[in-house]
């Protein structure tokens, strides 16, 4: 019956209650939708980072990532790749030769990271081949094909079939280089990646830096299940004796922290909204208590315990908050589901976003954990906002309350 009274009390002043509900609805809608929007955005960046740039797991000689020294290669790489491919949970693996170089066209020269790949196998691990802007992934050029990023192609004024010179140090410490012809131009979400990396064939690069066909600087690995990366790292480490095996979280910690940082930021944002709304709820419920002093006195007079009066006020506040919060959360989820298909176009800022590695069409993503977190916060705000008005009710003296008008 207390629940029934509390519910019906909410609708005694429907306009006032609706104002509070609407405020909570709008606040929670904004909170939830911003959360799913930001989450989707960050997840797009995360996926792009892993699937295009780092892969799930990388294997190197210890210290290679620090200096990227051409001499830091390991042998028996093909055998190791074969063994890694047979590990449970590994979808594909591919070996790479990675060096630092100068790339020069007829117009300009630039410092660059050259990645020698097995064009067939590498596409099973990362997806640069699916992001071709022009030309193709190592097709159409017979001798020394090269695949470069869109941004670099713009800077060096290169087109498909343009000639380009790479200069670098070989494994003996001698100056070396070679002429390549552009087979394709890729354009990923990350301009920085497009500007700083180019791809050549493993076989071409090995002969130029004078290392055997069975040597590599890096093995990139794709897992069947992205959530099982840590387990697979353990298994690969057991096979790759003397080598350093790292997950994408260790290779690019900024990617891992991206979603965590954003979630934290969104919680802070939602909490600020709720604090503002909480004051509104306190104000409304205080008015409710002050308006009903006589009635609360009567309830206590006829035998309702103070604790029950407290619970009644608490329930009224909670139901009011939960109703507004619930509607806002549902609307936020519905909007997320709708925009998750169509995406939200931020092409106006595409250039700036691309410089930071972010997509310009955002697909909001529903995050159950976050929605549960926000719902709990709404309930918590309701309880907190109810405490002071309910305490006021608790402090009433029934005989004095009955005499109030």
């Amino acid at each position: 019956m207390i629940l029934k009274i509390a519910w019906r009390n909410i609708w005694r002043n429907p306009i006032r209650s609706w104002i509070v509900i609407m405020a909570l609805t709008v606040g929670m809608y904004a909170g939830v939708f911003s959360t799913t929007f930001m989450h989707g955005w960050m997840m797009q960046r995360l996926r792009a980072g892993i699937e295009t740039e780092t892969s799930h797991i990388q294997v190197h000689l210890p210290g290679f990532k620090m200096a990227e020294d051409v001499k830091s290669y390991f042998t028996n790489s093909s055998q190791l790749v074969h063994e890694i491919e047979n590990i449970e949970g590994v979808e594909a693996a591919s070996e790479r030769v990675v060096i630092s170089a100068m790339v020069a066209s007829a117009e300009k020269a630039s410092g660059i990271k050259v990645i020698g790949v097995d064009p067939g196998k590498d596409t099973l691990v990362v997806n640069v081949n699916k992001q071709m802007f022009d030309g193709s992934w190592f097709k159409g050029v017979k001798r020394n094909p090269i695949v470069i990023g869109y941004k670099l192609a713009q800077e060096l004024k290169l087109k498909v079939r343009s000639k380009v010179i790479l200069r670098f140090q070989d494994s003996q410490g001698d100056f070396s280089g070679g002429a390549f012809r552009v087979a394709g131009i890729f354009k990923t979400l990350n301009t920085g990646f497009d500007e700083g990396n180019l791809f050549v064939q493993n076989s071409d690069l090995r002969s130029l830096i004078t290392i055997s066909n069975d040597s590599a600087h890096e093995i990139v690995i794709r897992c069947d299940d992205p959530t099982m990366v840590d387990k697979v790292v353990g298994k690969v480490t057991a096979k790759a004796q003397g080598l350093e095996v790292e997950s994408w979280m260790e290779i690019s910690p900024e990617l891992g922290y991206l979603t965590e940082t954003m979630n934290l930021y969104m919680y802070v944002f939602v909490i600020i909204i709720l604090i503002a709304l909480g004051f509104g709820i306190v104000n409304t419920m205080l008015m409710v208590v002050l308006e009903r002093v006589h009635e609360l006195g009567m309830l206590m007079a006829v035998g309702m315990r103070k604790g029950q009066v407290f619970i009644m006020i608490l329930l009224e506040t909670l139901m009011l908050s939960a109703l507004g919060g619930f509607v806002g959360i549902v609307l936020g989820i519905v909007t997320t589901q709708l925009t998750a298909k169509t995406g939200i176009d931020l092409s106006m800022w595409a250039e700036g976003l691309s410089e930071m590695g972010f997509a310009s069409i955002i697909y909001p993503e529903y995050n159950l954990q976050m929605v549960i977190g926000v719902s709990v916060l709404v309930i918590f705000t309701g309880v907190l906002a109810a405490v002071y008005p309910a305490y006021k009710a608790l402090k009433l003296n029934p005989s004095q309350a009955l005499q109030s008008i």
């Binding site: 019956m1 029934k4 009274i5 019906r8 009390n9 005694r12 006589h294 009635e295 009567m298 309830l299 206590m300 007079a301 006829v302 035998g303 309702m304 315990r305 103070k306 029950q308 003296n397 029934p398 005989s399 009955l402 005499q403």
Partner: protein
């Protein structure tokens, strides 16, 4: 049988500054089945007396014993429980819960007592019949007349099967016909069910029906007359 024994009852407000003696040494005894009117001009202390008797307020001196239990020895929470179990209230302004129907208002008291749902429904029906508004069971107070609301209030006061009912100016807001009807109902309940009624009033019609009339002045009993 005496159900209420009051000895040297005192209630003083602002004890530390300028003391106001609202109740100033009252000694009274109420027997089971009494139909008593407590008469006093405004400000003479009848509401204060009723508040003390109903455990809504604590006395500053003296004692109140109801059914052998000292009210002045009970904590605030214990007094609340005692009110729920043993005292029925009828107020001048009806004081029904506006968001509950007539039947729900009556059942609410029984729910606080922990009476099972079936029993609550049956008793509220029975009580609404007793006060003559069984057809208004599902109507909310706002849609009832003053007289009908006060009847619901009487039925609610009876819901907990109390030892006695305290009625503070129950007819003050009613017209003559409603007053007459309400008093008849209460008189019948008193005679048939032996329910004790104590009215605080200055309504001559109530005084006329009462079998005992106690007059208060300046917080003291100045006359206590039992009609024959």
């Amino acid at each position: 049988m005496a159900i209420i024994k009051i000895k040297n009852l005192e209630k003083t407000y602002n004890k530390k500054q300028i003391p106001v003696h609202a109740i100033n040494g009252i000694d009274l005894t109420f027997q089971e089945g009494e139909f008593t009117a407590l008469v006093a001009p405004s400000g003479a202390g009848k509401t204060t007396f009723l508040n003390l008797l109903g455990g809504l307020d604590a006395p500053t001196g003296g004692s109140i014993e109801i059914g052998g239990k000292r009210m002045d020895h009970l904590s605030s929470a214990e007094r609340t429980r005692f009110r729920l179990e043993h005292i029925g209230f009828v107020f001048q302004a009806y004081n029904l819960i506006p968001v509950l129907s007539a039947a729900e208002n009556i059942e609410f008291i029984m729910e606080l007592q922990g009476v099972p749902k079936k029993e609550r429904s049956a008793r509220s029906k029975e009580l609404l019949e007793a006060v003559g508004i069984a057809d208004k069971a599902n109507i909310r107070p706002g849609q009832l007349s003053g007289g009908q609301q006060q009847r619901v209030a009487v039925a609610r006061a009876l819901a907990s099967k109390p030892k006695f009912i305290l009625a503070d100016e129950p007819t003050a807001n009613l017209d003559s016909k409603s007053t007459e009807n309400l008093l008849d109902i209460m008189q019948k309940l008193n005679e048939k069910e032996n329910i004790t009624f104590i009215f605080a009033t200055h309504d001559a019609r109530v005084v006329k029906k009462a079998r005992r009339v106690i007059t208060l002045e300046d917080g003291k009993v100045i006359s206590d007359e039992v009609k024959k």
